[in-house]
Structures are given as C-alpha cells and as structure tokens.
Symmetry: C2
C-alpha cells in the first residue's frame, strides 16, 4: 500500500496511474503538482488527485512514492526542486520515454545517482494528452520497463514494480542504453516518420484535396502524428543518438527499396514486402500486452 503518492505532472500518464492505483485500492492519498493550478484543480474535480500544491518541494513532503511524468526537458528542474525535500523512505520513479537523459538529469541535479531513484517507462499512452484523457485501464496488460542502475536500491525497485503491477502492468527490467535503442526503433522512429509524412503532405499545394482522398490506411499510419509536439521534441533531443542511428539504418532500407522501384526489380520488391508482411503478421498475432492504443 502506498501511503501518499505524489504525481508530478498530472496529464494522461500521471493521471492514469493515479486513477489505476486508486481503483486498485493500492494508495491512500494522492497529491498532484505542476505549474498550472487550473489543471490541478481540474484533476481534483475529476477525482484523479486528492489535493495539490504548485510547489513541487512542498508537494512531495511526506510522500513515500513520487511519480515524475513531465516532458523529458523538464525532468532536470523537477529533480533539482525535490531532491532535498523528499521523505527518508521516499522512492522516486518516472515515466520518461528515453532513460539515458533522465539518468543524466538526476545525476546533474542531485550530484550522484541516488539509490532511491528507479528509472521507468510505461509503454502505454494514446495520441491524446491531458488529465481529461486519463483512464484507469491505460496500463492494464501493458509493459513497463524499469532500468535500475548499479546504485539503485533493490527494495526501491521492488516497490516501483509492485506499484505498476497494482496498476495492471507487466514489468520488465532492462539496461538503460538498450532501452533507448529498442524504443528508438519501435516508437521514436515511427513517430518521426509519421510527423515527417504529414508535414510533407501538408506542404504540398493540393493539401486540402490530398487529405480528402486519404483513407483509413493513412489514418492509422499517421495517428501518432497527432501526439504532443513538446513531448516529441523532448524525446528527439533526449534520445538523439539512438534515434539518429535508427534513422540511418532506416535510410539504408528505404534506399534499397527505392533502388528496387527505380530498377523495376519486381522480384526484390516482392521479397521485401513478403518479409515485412510475415514479420508484421507475426507481431499482430502476439497475444496480450498489446491492446489497441498507444502513442509513445
């Protein structure tokens, strides 16, 4: 049982965790904080949090669990603000989509890698954002990756794992660097491609007409381009190296495909498409931990 949970950044991710833990009876009190009192009041009105304080140092006082769900670019200032205000038994974890940068941010803010910090990433979300979009079932059956370091207290890891399991998630542990590579491939690159494609089409002169003839395939393909621009700017900056490496790899594959189209190499095209279809069909056939929506 979490006695007092402090959620820093009460949007889709933080709000959904609060709702899930409350629904599971796994938390006694939930305090929210962010820079926007109106948003926080809305979270209180919705029953997502019990009370709020716009000062993060005050908000974390007495909390035994702190969940930081702010854009990656804001992690550093949050850690700096709360580092000296935490209760002795507090465990802090986060929901950032890239982990190396979060670890660097806490090292810079606190002066070392604190034993009480457990880097985490729930592989869940939708293209929506804000507390209004939060819901208790967001994490049900979804994966959460924890990337503890040598310095991390194993008891702290156990408490964070228990929290996510209470929210319905399946928890795995992974190396920080490996996490960032895997996410660059499965999430960050697809988002970059979707944003770039929509931008390409939007800049074509026949824009209005083009979108008129776009259909469901395009709709699915570009859904993630409706995601929060600030969050994705931060992810691109935070996971820069892994994303650049993945773009480079993808560029080679698209170049090979383009060459096959240019050279009218039907045999090669068929081989590539059949391979991809087989891989996608195998992925689609995977059971569980793969519900319908996700934006991260």
């Amino acid at each position: 049982m979490i006695e007092r949970l402090c959620v820093i950044g009460v949007g889709l991710i933080g709000g959904s965790l609060a709702r899930a833990l409350r629904a599971a009876g796994a938390v006694r009190e939930i305090v929210g904080t962010s820079r926007n009192a109106a948003h926080l009041q809305r979270a209180v009105d919705l029953g997502v949090i019990d009370r709020f304080d716009t000062d993060p140092a005050r908000a974390v006082q007495g909390a035994d669990m702190v969940f930081v769900s702010v854009p990656l670019g804001a992690m550093g200032s949050v850690f700096a603000a709360i580092g000296n205000a935490l209760a002795a038994n507090a465990v802090v974890t986060d929901g950032g989509s890239a982990k190396s940068s979060v670890v660097a941010a806490i090292r810079d803010a606190v002066g070392n890698i604190p034993s009480w910090f457990v880097p985490g990433h729930p592989i869940a979300g939708t293209e929506q954002s804000g507390v209004e979009a939060s819901f208790a079932e967001l994490y049900r059956g979804r994966r959460v990756i924890l990337t503890p370091l040598a310095e991390t207290d194993r008891q702290a890891v156990g408490r964070v794992r228990a929290m996510w399991e209470a929210a319905g998630a399946v928890v795995n542990e992974m190396d920080v660097v490996h996490h960032d590579e895997v996410l660059a491939a499965t999430s960050h690159l697809p988002h970059v491609l979707a944003f770039a494609l929509v931008e390409s089409l939007a800049r074509m002169s026949e824009q209005r007409e083009i979108f008129e003839y776009a259909a469901g395939g395009f709709r699915d393909f570009t859904r993630i381009a409706s995601s929060d621009p600030v969050m994705w700017r931060d992810i691109c900056l935070a996971n820069r190296d892994a994303i650049l490496a993945m773009i480079d790899r993808f560029e080679q594959d698209i170049a090979a495909l383009t060459e096959a189209i240019r050279g009218r190499d039907g045999e090669r095209l068929l081989a590539i498409f059949a391979d991809a279809k087989a891989a996608r069909d195998a992925f689609a056939g995977q059971p569980a931990t793969q519900p319908a929506q996700d934006g991260q």
Copy 2:
C-alpha cells in the same frame, strides 16, 4: 439495374462490390472468373457470385458490366483475353490503385483507348485479402475516383458511377496523372514506409525482443505492412514515377528533420511537429467518407 455483372478476380475488392450490389438489389446475375476454380467455388458457396468460368472470355459473354479487380500486373492479359468477347452494350471498369498503367495496358491490349472502358479506383480496402474478407459495407461512404479519358463514352461513365453509388460510395472524377500523384502521396508512400520500417526492425538482431516492446502506436503505424505483397509490388512498378517523386520529396523532409535532431534544434523540431499535428488533427476531424479501415 445491371443485368449481368462479371467480376474478374473475386477477392476483397471484387467480392465486396458483388456483395454490395446484390444487397442493394442493383444486379440480377453475377458471374465470377479467375485462374483458381477452388477460390471461385468458395465465392459461390459464400453467395458472393452466382456462377463462374475460369475462362475470362467466356465469363464476360453477355455481361453488361465487367469489373476487373486483379493485381495491376495482370491487367494487360485480362484485357487481351476479354477485348473481343464483350457484349455490344458492355461497359468495363477496374479497381486498380494506379491509373496510368491500366490505361497503357488496355491501349496495348486493344490497340486503342476503347470508349467502353472507364478507369476507376475505389479508395477502400483492408490489410486483408481474399473473398473471405469481402463484405457488402466496404464501400459505404468511401470515395471512388473515376479517371475517364477523352475517348471514354460519357454514358459508360454514368453507368459506372451509378454502380458505385448503388454500392454506397461517393464518386469523383479526376485526371489520370493527378490521381496517380495524389495516391502516391496518401497511400503508396505510406505503404512503402511501413514495409521498410517493419523490414528494418525484422532484420535487427534483437528482432523478437524489439517486437515484444512495440505497442499500439507501432501496431497502427505498421498495420498496412500486412497488405498483399503481390499487389504492392505491382503498384510500385505501375506507379513508379509518381512514387519515386514522392519518396524524393519525403526524403528532403526527413533530412531536414534529421538535421534538426542532429543540431539539437528544439525550436525547429517543435515547429515541424506542431505543424504536422495541426494538419493531422484537421484531417482526423473530417466528417464522413473516412471510416476505420483501408489498405490501399
């Protein structure tokens, strides 16, 4: 009322048109043809067609409407086979996803652009294929683009339009070249990117694990990579020039985005992502003619 419809290639597209017209009471008899008698028998068993003949020249005999829904690479041989077997009042249309190549194929097969041929393209489909996947509602509220030529009989256009409207579709006319450019942008490029992305990931050593951590965003983004490889090989060959031009345009946009990531240009990234999100949200807000599924 269509007295006798001949469907050449009874898969998702042809089968769904047959089902829709039958459900609308807009056709008296439906004859199917393809090279595969077992598939055709299955279509009879499912009530999609009334009878079949594996010889296309015999199958079109006495038909007043012929719908050709075979992969683009097979259009030429179909037109060669049926050109001299058509009834005097027959109108022929097709469902090919690229139109220049279909027009070239019929010119080569028949020796000119026949007045009885109306090039068409229903902007509908799913990533499924085969007659088992066909359903009567596939075209409801969806767009069908007709690309008649100077040689095309306007009465023939009117009959094809009436057929699609009976199936529930919204019919527009467009220039052949323009159609191919619009579809390269909204459909063909996204499919090429989805195939290339899945191929990239499938070739990474940690393949199994990578797909394990892929979530709903990836699922949506890559759904179209489950589409029929033969159909997409043919589309890439048939609409080669427009697709290459679109890839080139996209490469410039992805290069600009990559440069912004490399240069840690957060302002530029935010501007691009915000633009794209606005365009995608505007597209998502469009009413009607945009149901959930599509693969072409």
